[in-house]
């Protein structure tokens, strides 16, 4: 008897099957794949590939081949030798004449024919190469010149290449030569090729007219519309998001032609315009945002030209190379602490751990990866991380390249601590924040609340130096802040707080707490860290290990 739970379990079991490739298989497939890839890339630019890529060329080739076959068949059936062969003719019994060629004469004739054929072949090769070069150089006039006063094969090849280029001059020349030529076969071929070029040109013109009609139908539209284009090439920017804001926000995305439009706005007024794009550097700096007055009964057109942006293809993995999803990436400039660069797009890794960051200018950037699991757990407030935060620095120099970067997140250790006042009473209900000293983001990754006995547990603490702050819940003023190496050898560590609530940092006296080695001797039960109160002094961002006084 089938039950829903059976179904779910079976389906889950199938969905949970995981197989993974071994290193040997990876190497074999990549090696074979690279070989195939290299071969494909080599043949990609082959001239014949270019020719055969075009439908018109293929049709022309087919037409030329068919006509060629017909001509050959006709010649075989109807032609007679133009020059009588040297030798003695005699009448046979059947009444037909047979040419008798002496043996030595025949050998000489064979040799002459071979030499001539070889010479013709060499000459043809040379001229075909010449035509090929002209095609690559788009030398229309040169190719047109090859249509006359050359062997038939060369003239046909020139016609074929001209068909591929599809130039108007070529169509005219072929039409003219087709009508002037005494050779009926060549005239027919030139005529076919000329027609195919004209048809192709006509199709191109029609497509152009259609595009122009579509473009004119898109702009302008009320109350705000416009186009976003590449500042250098004037190409349409198709992924741009245009946002207008005046209390309320409205968003439009550019279409395939780079056009955007806002058809309706809630109220008339001054609107700030923000433009973001992954492939282009957007207009996002608040101070530099253009402002425009919009009203529902008037039309405005605003065009934007953007410069190409640098992009980063990011993969976030854990220590065993499993992709980590739901990792938020914050981009900061090492020179501007506490200033997160807004690229205008959500910056969270997908379920494969991938994220493409774009819209960045050239320069050096810090990428801070924070994994977050939503929810409130016990005495932990906010978002509980599954991994310790990590930061990498990347230098972007070329907007035409997409930098690939991997970030490896580590699960840290759990660190237990205890807060207590000088008189020994527990520091309960205090907020504890802990962040690496390299932290340059304007928020804490995680806050903890001390329990009634002053105890707290810090999650996922990777090896490093941390800034720990204790705050009163009521007013959030710091009552203590210090730096320490974490995790400690022994736990829990005890933080002694001066019993002077509300005292300013600068007035907090130094704490006299022995170092870790002494603790083992003097205080076997607990570790008490010897800390000096520090100012909020984050060390240089490039230095992950900070010095602190003990």
């Amino acid at each position: 008897m089938k039950t829903d739970s059976d179904n779910i379990n079976l389906e889950e079991a199938i969905a949970d099957i995981r197989c993974t490739t071994g290193t040997e298989l990876d190497e074999r497939i990549l090696s074979d794949g690279f070989a195939a890839f290299d071969e494909a890339m080599r043949s990609k630019h082959s001239i014949w590939r270019i020719i055969f890529k075009s439908r018109i060329s293929r049709l022309t080739i087919a037409a030329v081949l068919i006509i060629g076959c017909l001509i050959a068949a006709k010649l075989l059936l109807t032609t007679t030798p133009e020059k009588p062969p040297t030798g003695v003719a005699k009448r046979t019994d059947s009444g037909l004449s047979e040419v008798l060629v002496p043996e030595e004469l025949k050998e000489k004739q064979d040799f002459d024919e071979k030499a001539t054929a070889e010479s013709i072949k060499t000459e043809l090769k040379r001229e075909l190469k010449q035509i090929e070069d002209m095609f690559v150089a788009k030398d229309i006039e040169g190719l047109i010149a090859m249509l006359s006063d050359h062997p038939q094969e060369i003239r046909l090849a020139a016609a074929l290449y001209l068909a591929n280029i599809g130039d108007e001059r070529a169509a005219e020349a072929l039409r003219r030569l087709g009508s002037e030529s005494d050779d009926e076969r060549l005239a027919a071929i030139f005529s076919i090729v000329s027609s195919s070029i004209e048809n192709r040109l006509e199709e191109t013109k029609k497509a152009g007219r259609l595009e122009a009609q579509q473009s004119s139908a898109i702009v302008p539209k009320r109350p705000l519309s416009g186009q976003v284009s590449d500042a250098e090439t004037a190409e349409a920017v198709i992924d741009a998001v245009v946002t207008i804001s005046s209390g309320e926000h409205y968003t439009a995305t550019t279409d395939a032609n780079g056009f955007y439009c806002f058809e309706d706005i809630g109220k008339d007024g001054n609107y700030k315009i923000n433009v973001t794009s992954k492939e282009y550097i957007g207009i996002t700096e608040q101070e530099k945002l253009p402002v425009v007055y919009l009203s529902s009964d008037s039309s405005q057109v605003k065009n934007f030209k953007l410069e190409k942006a640098c992009m980063i293809d990011l993969l976030v993995m854990d220590e065993v190379n499993e992709p980590v999803s739901n990792v938020e990436i914050f981009v900061t400039n090492p020179g501007d602490k506490n200033d997160i660069i807004d690229t205008g797009f959500e910056q969270i890794t997908d379920r494969k751990g991938f994220l493409v960051l774009g819209g960045l200018d050239r320069g050096t950037f810090n990428l801070t990866a924070i994994h977050r699991s939503p929810g409130i757990f016990g005495n932990t407030v906010g978002l509980l991380p599954d991994y310790a935060p990590h930061r990498v620095t990347i230098k972007l120099e070329n907007p035409n390249d997409i930098e690939y970067k991997e970030i490896v997140l580590r699960r840290g250790a759990e660190v237990r601590g205890q807060a207590q006042f000088e008189d020994g009473s527990p520091g309960s209900d205090l907020i504890v924040t802990v962040q690496p000293v390299w932290w340059d983001l304007p928020f804490e990754v995680c806050n903890y609340v001390t329990e009634h006995d002053g105890g707290f547990e810090l999650e996922n603490i990777a090896d490093g130096t941390y800034l720990i702050r204790l705050m009163e819940q009521a007013d959030s003023n710091d009552i203590l802040k210090f730096e320490t190496e974490l995790p400690l050898k022994d736990e829990p560590f005890v933080i002694i707080i001066p019993k002077e609530p509300g005292v300013a940092d600068s007035n907090i006296p130094d704490f006299n707490i022995p170092d870790a080695n002494m603790l083992d001797v003097n205080l076997p039960d607990v570790n008490i860290i010897d800390v000096n109160i520090l100012d909020f002094n984050i060390p240089d961002s490039n230095t992950e290990q900070a010095d602190f006084e003990i």
């Binding site: 089938k2 059976d6 179904n7 379990n9 079976l10 389906e11 079991a13 199938i14 969905a15 949970d16 099957i17 995981r18 197989c19 993974t20 490739t21 298989l25 990876d26 074999r28 497939i29 990549l30 074979d32 794949g33 690279f34 195939a36 890839f37 290299d38 071969e39 494909a40 890339m41 043949s43 990609k44 590939r49 992954k278 992009m311 293809d313 993969l315 997908d350 494969k352 991938f354 994220l355 493409v356 997409i402 690939y404």
Partner: protein, 179 residues
Amino acid sequence: MLADNLLIWRLRGGDRQAFRQIYKKYKDELLTMAMSLLNEADEAEDALREVFVLFANNVARFRLYGSLRNYLISCIVNHIRNRYRQKMYLVEEVDRGKQDEADSQRTEQPIAENEKIHSLIEFLAEIPLQQREVIILHLQGNLKFREIAEMQDTQISTVRARYNYGLDKLRAISDGRII
């Protein structure tokens, strides 16, 4: 989606690393599906290799109109379908007395180490290929019935029926030994 488009863009520009990244991104998922469909490690690996080599070979004229993931999934499924047909043909040949010793001596090398998973793959091998395909594509490939219907060139209702029949059969074959 955008990442795939960018990877393809880089690939078409001649960037070998893009090929490596695409391979890295999808290899395990495709191998899992191939293994679930074939129940033979070496054939699953061959299928994975064939698909990626073919993909590399066709990169010059490759155009991505939808999802790269779905494209690669359909490639591996088509490849396996063809292999399966060839195999069926081979079985018929054997029945006619032309025994293929090499084929009969093929040794299985399970990739999935977990015994339970291995058993499940073996049970899957006992249900018809079309039903197996639907189950694997839906549960492992996360494809919608509509997408599978397009891939199998059939109606959505048929796909849904294959899915349900397949699960029923699987349950009967496994006789509660999976769950």
